[in-house]
Symmetry: D2
Amino acid sequence: MSVTEDAPRYLGAEGKEKLNNRLKRIEGQVRGLRRMVDEEAYCIDVLTQIGSAVSAMEKVGVFLLKDHVEHCIRGSIEHGGEDADEKIEELTATVERFLRV
Amino acid sequence: MSVTEDAPRYLGAEGKEKLNNRLKRIEGQVRGLRRMVDEEAYCIDVLTQIGSAVSAMEKVGVFLLKDHVEHCIRGSIEHGGEDADEKIEELTATVERFLRV
Amino acid sequence: MSVTEDAPRYLGAEGKEKLNNRLKRIEGQVRGLRRMVDEEAYCIDVLTQIGSAVSAMEKVGVFLLKDHVEHCIRGSIEHGGEDADEKIEELTATVERFLRV
Amino acid sequence: MSVTEDAPRYLGAEGKEKLNNRLKRIEGQVRGLRRMVDEEAYCIDVLTQIGSAVSAMEKVGVFLLKDHVEHCIRGSIEHGGEDADEKIEELTATVERFLRV
């Protein structure tokens, strides 16, 4: 069963804009990487830029994770918690996939 | 002192195209993430997509790392290795920064 | 202010034993690593073993994280949630530190 | 074919002692983790300690990686490089496994 449909809505206008700005910046970083490769920038400089884009992406992940716990998980527990077990299971499976352990 | 200027040239036409294609795909993934957030996709699905983009990015990093060892490091050792120590130091510093240890 | 004192108790006898067994195995892996270095095992084999110990350790981390959300976070939300905000903040800060972003 | 047998010897007495000391400290950290769990330390404190042991382990990994490039890879390239391709392939496969990408 998917838990998507009835998931409490998230982020809010401010959060969405913040996230959108961060993702736009990451998109720019990736475009910059293509240019660097095209112009044959020094590998180490490209690798440094990749590391920075990966960090920025993982920060976005943590931002979303926090919002998810604050809204979806918290909401689910507050409203009786019938699907709270399932949501917590889903959360840790996601963190596991994220850490690739 | 920068070791950039005289670094042996890298990748070749085929490698550059492969890398460019991979980065284009990642750029698309990040753009897709913006759309997902805009359409309020379920956080867990967004997180899964972020994890996938991070993996793809790190794969590009390893691809570049390999090319760097095969060309820059190897070339530097073969041609007398005057700057080989420096290049190896630089390589491990980059891996360290990449692993953020 | 520390949130330690009144934290709901965790794990249970079964969880504690499971965790203890996993940590004992990791301790053995690290001891094995010392032996490998002592016997001058091939670096790549040592690196593989390190990667395996790191994975095992991160799995223990996710196990604890799950238990923490299931008990501490959930309990805090169920019991009125006065310190829930603080606990969620603390949780994401920990995940951030864990991912080192 | 294994590349182990004829691998140039590594680390040296000083490097081996340094590595042994670091691994002993990590072994102590893991033992400390078992004690923390036994005494029901706060999950977040245990997680922080796990993160620190993981970092220490990855630092050992980078230390070994550097030694491997400096000795095995470099030696292999300097001595004609017949197995250099194989060794570089092996190195990047190891980094890939380490990053789990």
